[in-house]
C-alpha cells in the first residue's frame, strides 16, 4: 500500500514595523521583560487600539508579491480566549475578511521540479506575550514585550505532498518576507514561526484524510522532521486499523515524537466577532500602487536573471538568491572583478558563506567586503597568487591582518613565475627523487603529480603550478 502525505502550512511572520500593530511601543527584541509594553499592550481599562499603517502596507506588499487579491475593505475580529499572556482576553485578528487572499508561489524542489502552492489567505493580527514557566519556582512569569507585535499569518492550501516540499515552501516564504523587508525572519527569536496541517491518504484517493495540526515547529529542520514523524504515525495508525483524530499536536524534537496537546488547550470556542474598536481597513488603488512601486526584484526574477546573465547553474542561482543581501554582495563582487561570475559565485558560496557561518557574523557585518573579495579574485586572475594562496589571504584579511595587498606583501605570498627560479626548484626535486623519476620514465604518468607537489611544497605554495608542470615535463624530457 502506498501513501500520499498532504500538507498545508500556517506561517506567522512578525512584521518588521518599528512599533506594535495597535500601540506605539517598540517591537525591538531582547529588552528586559515588560519594559516594552504600553497601557494598550497591557490591556488596561479604557485604552483603545490604533492601527499601525505600516503593518497594512507590509501585508499589501506580501499580497502583491504572491499574486494575491488585496481586499479593498477588510475587518478586524476578536478571537476570545483566556490566557495570562493575552492581556485583553482576546486577540485582535482577522477572521471572515482577511486583507489578502487567493494567491500562490512556485516552489523549486531539489530535483529541479516546481511545486505550485496556493496561498489561501494572509491576515493581520497581534502577537501574544510570552509565558515563562521555568525559573519561577512553581509559578509562571509573564513577559508582555511581544504582546501586540504585528503578525502576518500566511495560510497555504494543502498543496504540499512531502516534508521536503513543506520545508522548501517554508524557505521560499522565508526568503520572500526578507526580500520584502516585512519580517526579519529570525527563527531563533520567533519572528518566523510555523504550524503544519498534516494528513495522509492512499495514492489515488481524492478525498483528504483527517488532519492533525502540528505546533512548535521553529526551524526548517523541525518542520521536515515533525511532518515525517507525524506521517509515519498516521500511516501506522491507519494500517493498524485505527483512525486519525483531528487534533492539535505538539512536536517534541528531543523525543522525536508528536503528542496531543491537552484537550483543554484546544477545545476553545473563540467566539469571533468584529472588533468594534477598529474601523475596517480600507485599501484603495492608490495605496496599492504606492506599495507596488516599493517592490524589490523578487527571488524568482533574480534567480532567472542570475542564470541568464551570469551563466550560473540553477543550483548556484538558487543559493545566491535565497538571501537578498547575499545576492547583492555577489553582484557587487561580479561588477568589481575581472574574474568570471562562476568564480565569484564559488567564492561567495564557499569561503565567504563558510566564514560567516563559522564566526556567526551577519553578511551586513562581513569582515571581507565585496570590494575586497573582488580585489582578491583579481589577484588570482592576474596570476599574482594562486587560488590556494588566495584562500590563505582571505583568511588573513578576515582575521583583520590588513588589506589583500598588505597581506600578500607581509607574508611574501606573491606567486613565483620567474622561469629561472622555477627551473632551479624543479632541478632540485628531480635530483632528490630519483626513484619516482625512474617510475615516471617507465611510463607511470601519475607520478608527475607527486613531483609537482614536491616543487609546490618547496616553494611554500608560491610557485605558479602551470609553470612548474611545464618545467618538469621539459626537464624530464616528457
Amino acid at each position: 500500500m502506498t501513501w500520499e502525505t498532504v500538507i498545508g502550512l500556517e506561517i506567522h511572520a512578525q512584521l518588521a514595523t518599528a512599533s506594535k500593530i495597535f500601540s506605539g511601543a517598540s517591537t525591538k527584541y531582547g529588552a528586559a521583560p515588560n519594559t516594552q509594553a504600553s497601557l494598550v499592550d497591557l490591556g488596561y481599562p479604557g485604552v483603545l487600539p490604533v492601527l499601525n499603517g505600516d503593518a497594512v502596507r507590509m501585508a499589501v506588499k506580501f499580497g502583491l508579491a504572491t499574486h494575491c487579491k488585496i481586499a479593498q475593505r477588510s475587518i478586524f475580529a476578536r478571537k476570545n480566549y483566556f490566557y495570562p499572556d493575552l492581556p485583553k482576553g482576546y486577540q485582535i485578528s482577522q477572521y471572515e475578511l482577511p486583507i489578502v487572499h487567493g494567491g500562490h508561489v512556485d516552489v523549486q524542489l531539489p530535483d529541479g521540479s516546481t511545486r505550485h502552492v496556493n496561498i489561501v489567505r494572509a491576515h493581520l493580527e497581534e502577537d501574544a506575550g510570552k509565558s515563562l514557566h521555568e525559573d519561577f519556582a512553581g509559578m509562571s512569569g509573564i513577559d508582555l514585550n511581544r504582546a501586540g507585535t504585528g503578525l502576518l499569518e500566511i495560510v497555504s492550501a494543502p498543496d504540499m505532498r512531502s516534508a521536503q516540499e513543506a520545508g522548501a515552501y517554508m524557505r521560499k516564504i522565508h526568503a520572500l518576507v526578507r526580500y520584502l523587508e516585512i519580517c526579519d525572519g529570525n527563527l531563533q527569536e520567533g519572528s518566523f514561526r510555523c504550524d503544519a496541517n498534516v494528513s495522509v491518504r492512499r495514492v489515488g484517493d481524492t478525498k483528504l484524510g483527517t488532519r492533525t495540526e502540528l505546533k512548535n515547529l521553529n526551524s526548517f529542520r523541525f518542520v521536515e522532521k515533525a511532518i515525517e514523524i507525524e506521517r509515519d504515525r498516521q500511516i501506522e495508525l491507519i494500517e493498524g486499523g485505527g483512525k486519525v483524530t483531528q487534533e492539535t499536536r505538539l512536536f517534541d524534537p528531543d523525543r522525536e515524537e508528536t503528542r496531543p496537546m491537552r484537550s483543554k488547550e484546544e477545545a476553545n470556542d473563540y467566539r469571533y466577532f468584529p472588533d468594534p474598536d477598529l474601523l475596517p481597513i480600507a485599501v484603495d488603488d492608490a495605496l496599492i500602487e504606492r506599495v507596488r512601486a516599493t517592490l524589490p526584484e523578487l527571488p524568482d526574477a533574480k534567480r532567472e536573471r542570475f542564470t541568464n546573465a551570469y551563466s550560473l547553474s540553477a543550483y548556484d542561482a538558487d543559493v545566491l538568491t535565497v538571501d537578498k543581501r547575499l545576492a547583492d554582495y555577489f553582484e557587487a563582487v561580479v561588477k568589481a572583478t575581472k574574474a568570471a561570475p562562476k568564480i565569484a559565485a564559488n567564492w561567495v558560496m564557499g569561503e565567504l558563506t563558510g566564514a560567516l557561518n563559522r564566526t556567526n557574523v551577519d553578511i551586513d557585518a562581513s569582515r571581507v567586503s565585496a570590494a575586497t573579495l573582488a580585489a582578491l579574485l583579481d589577484k588570482i586572475e592576474a596570476g599574482t597568487i594562486s587560488g590556494k594562496i588566495a584562500k590563505e589571504v582571505f583568511e588573513a584579511v578576515w582575521n583583520g591582518e590588513g588589506s589583500v595587498d598588505a597581506v600578500i606583501e607581509k607574508r611574501g605570498l606573491v606567486q613565483i613565475s620567474d622561469t629561472g627560479a622555477i627551473d632551479k626548484l624543479v632541478a632540485e626535486v628531480i635530483a632528490a627523487n630519483a626513484a619516482q623519476v625512474e617510475q615516471f620514465r617507465a611510463g607511470k604518468q601519475q607520478v608527475l603529480g607527486f613531483l609537482v607537489g614536491q616543487v609546490m611544497k618547496m616553494s611554500k605554495g608560491k610557485a605558479n603550478p602551470q609553470q612548474v608542470n611545464e618545467a618538469l615535463r621539459k626537464q624530464l624530457g616528457a
Binding site: L39, L42, G43, Y44, P45, G46, V47, L48, P49, V50, L51, R78, N80, F82, Y83, P84, P87, K88, G89, Y90, I142, K264, D269, R271, Y272, F273, P276, D277, L278, L279
Partner: protein, 485 residues
C-alpha cells in the same frame, strides 16, 4: 450659589463675583453635608479640587482662562483619572488607581475645570437604577426611597441635588438620558464618535458614548464643546470640526419639524407621563415647531437587539479583568489557572455583570452566533434605517425618555426584563448612533419626567438650541428637590 447654572457661574467667575476656590469649597461642603444620604460619589477628591481651584484662580487672574476655568464638575467613575481610584463601581476595580487620564478628563482639565470627585454608577454601567453598584445604590434626591435611574445615577443625583453644578456621564442604552429624566435635569448623549472613548472603561464599544448631565441645555453646550472632537487615540472618533455650541444655542430660532412616533404613546407609557409630554410638545409648537406624526416600524425591536449586541461586546470587553495585571485578585490560593480566573472573576463581578457576560458569551458561541448576534445586527440596521427615513421629513424625533417617573429602590431588581424595558425609548438612538437629549418636561406624582429629542448625526448644535429655547419658556429645569434647594 449652588442653584446657579454653569453659564451663570462662568460669568460670576470672570466678573470676580466669586473665586474658583470659594465655589469649590461651597460644593465640597454640600457634598459633605448631603452625600452620606445620596451616595452619589464613590470618591471625593477634595485636595486635588482645591489645588485645581487655586490654579484656576491664578489663571482667571492672568486672563488666559477659558469659559470653563474654575467651574467644578464631577466625573462618572467610568472615566480614568490619573492617580485617582477609577472603580467603575465594581469590586473588581475597587483597588484600581488609573495611571492616565481619559481624553475627556484631560480636555476638561486643560480648560481649567475643577474635578470634585468620581460619581457612583451601576457596576460597569450595567443597570438602569444604580442598584448594581458595589458601593450601594444612589438615592433619588426627589424621594430617597426611589432610584435615580442609571447607569449614570450618581452624576444625575449630584446635579439634581445641586451638590455638583454638572457632571459627565456615559450612555450605552440610555444611561445619561434616563437618570437625567428621573432626576429632573438635562442630559445629552452626542453622536457616536463625537466624543472620544479613550480612557472610558468600555461596556459595549459600538454603543458607548460620553456626554454630560447639567441643569440646562446651555450648560451642556458649554461642556460638550470642550469635550468633543477627534482623538487620534480612538479610531472610532469622528474627524469633524466641533461647532461652537455655546454660541450657536443663542442664535435665532429656525423653524423645525418634530416627528412624533405615535407608538411611543401606547400602553407602555404611564398616562400622566403622556399628558405631560403632550403639553411639552405644545410648548415646542408654540415656539414655532411643526409636529408631525411619524412611524419607526422597528423601534419595538430595539430592546431585544440591544440585549444581544451590548452583552456580546461586554463579554469580550470585560475579559481583561482577570486579576493578572490589575484589579481584584482572590485571596484564596488557586489550584490551577482555571480556578484562578474563576475565583477572581466570580468574586470580583456582581450578579448583573455576570448575567450580561454569560448572555454575551452565549450569543457569540458557535451555533448561536447567526441566530442571535447576526440577527441582532440586522435588526440594528433596520432600526437605524427607520431613523434615516424619518429624518428625510423631520428635524427631530420626539418622545418620552422613560415610560414612567422614578421607581422604588428594589422594585425591579428581581425582574431583569422589567428593568431592561426602562430603556425602551432611549436604546434606539444608541443602536443608530444618533445624538439624543432628555429635557425636564413636567411632573408626575411630584416626580420629574423627561422629553427626549433625537437628531440626525452631528446635529448636536440644533438639538442643544432647541433645548435652550424650550428652557427659555419652561421652568421644569429650575425646580430643585425640597431638601436641596
Amino acid at each position: 450659589m449652588h442653584t446657579r447654572t454653569l453659564a451663570q457661574l462662568s460669568a460670576d467667575l470672570r466678573a470676580r463675583r466669586v473665586s474658583a476656590t470659594e465655589l469649590t469649597k461651597h460644593f465640597l461642603d454640600r457634598i459633605a453635608r448631603h452625600d452620606a444620604t445620596l451616595n452619589a460619589f464613590i470618591t471625593v477628591t477634595s485636595e486635588q479640587a482645591l489645588a485645581a481651584a487655586a490654579a484656576a484662580d491664578k489663571r482667571l487672574g492672568r486672563g488666559d482662562a477659558t469659559p470653563l476655568t474654575g467651574l467644578p464638575i464631577a466625573h462618572k467613575d467610568i472615566f480614568c483619572t490619573a492617580g485617582v481610584k477609577t472603580s467603575c463601581a465594581s469590586k473588581m476595580l475597587d483597588n484600581f488607581v488609573a495611571p492616565y487620564d481619559a481624553t475627556i478628563v484631560e480636555r476638561l482639565q486643560n480648560a481649567g475645570v475643577v474635578m470634585l470627585g468620581k460619581t457612583n454608577m451601576d457596576e460597569f454601567a450595567m443597570g438602569s437604577s444604580n442598584e448594581t453598584s458595589f458601593y450601594g445604590p444612589v438615592k433619588n434626591p426627589w424621594d430617597h426611597a426611589l432610584v435615580p435611574g442609571g447607569s449614570s445615577g450618581g452624576s444625575a443625583a449630584a446635579v439634581a441635588a445641586r451638590i455638583a453644578p454638572a457632571a459627565t456621564g456615559t450612555d450605552t442604552g440610555g444611561s445619561i438620558r434616563q437618570p437625567a429624566a428621573l432626576t429632573g435635569i438635562t442630559g445629552i448623549k452626542p453622536t457616536y464618535g463625537r466624543v472620544s472613548r479613550y480612557g472610558m472603561i468600555a461596556f459595549a464599544s459600538s454603543l458607548d458614548q460620553a456626554g454630560v448631565l447639567t441643569q440646562t441645555a446651555e450648560d451642556a453646550a458649554l461642556l460638550l464643546e470642550a469635550m468633543a472632537g477627534f482623538d487620534e487615540r480612538d479610531s472610532t472618533s469622528l474627524d469633524d470640526a466641533v461647532p461652537n455650541y455655546s454660541k450657536l444655542v443663542n442664535e435665532p430660532w429656525e423653524r423645525v419639524t418634530i416627528g412624533v412616533p405615535e407608538s411611543f404613546f401606547d400602553a407602555g407609557l404611564e398616562a400622566d407621563n403622556a399628558k405631560a409630554l403632550r403639553v411639552a410638545l405644545k410648548e415646542l409648537e408654540k415656539l414655532g415647531a411643526t409636529l408631525k406624526p411619524i412611524e419607526l416600524p422597528h423601534i419595538h425591536l430595539s430592546v431585544p437587539a440591544y440585549y444581544v449586541v451590548a452583552p456580546a461586546e461586554a463579554s469580550s470587553n470585560l475579559s481583561r479583568f482577570d486579576g493578572v495585571r490589575f484589579g481584584y485578585r482572590s485571596a484564596a490560593k488557586a489550584d490551577d489557572l482555571l480556578s484562578f480566573y474563576m475565583r477572581n472573576r466570580g468574586e470580583g463581578f456582581g450578579p448583573e455583570v455576570k448575567r450580561r457576560i454569560l448572555t454575551g458569551a452565549y450569543v457569540l458561541s458557535a451555533g448561536y452566533f447567526d441566530a442571535y448576534y447576526l440577527q441582532a445586527q440586522k435588526v440594528r440596521k433596520l432600526v437605524s434605517d427607520d431613523f434615516t427615513r424619518a429624518f428625510r421629513e423631520v428635524d427631530f424625533v420626539a418622545g418620552p425618555t422613560t415610560p414612567a417617573p422614578a421607581f422604588g429602590l428594589g422594585q425591579k431588581t428581581g425582574d431583569p426584563i422589567q428593568m431592561y424595558l426602562n430603556d425602551i425609548y432611549t436604546i434606539g438612538a444608541n443602536l443608530a448612533g444618533l445624538p439624543a437629549m432628555s429635557l425636564p418636561c413636567g411632573v408626575v406624582r411630584g416626580l420629574p419626567v423627561g422629553l427626549q429629542l433625537v437628531a440626525p448625526p452631528l446635529h448636536e448644535a440644533q438639538l442643544l438650541k432647541t433645548g435652550h429655547y424650550f428652557q427659555r419658556v419652561t421652568d421644569w429645569h429650575q425646580r430643585v428637590p425640597a431638601n436641596y434647594a
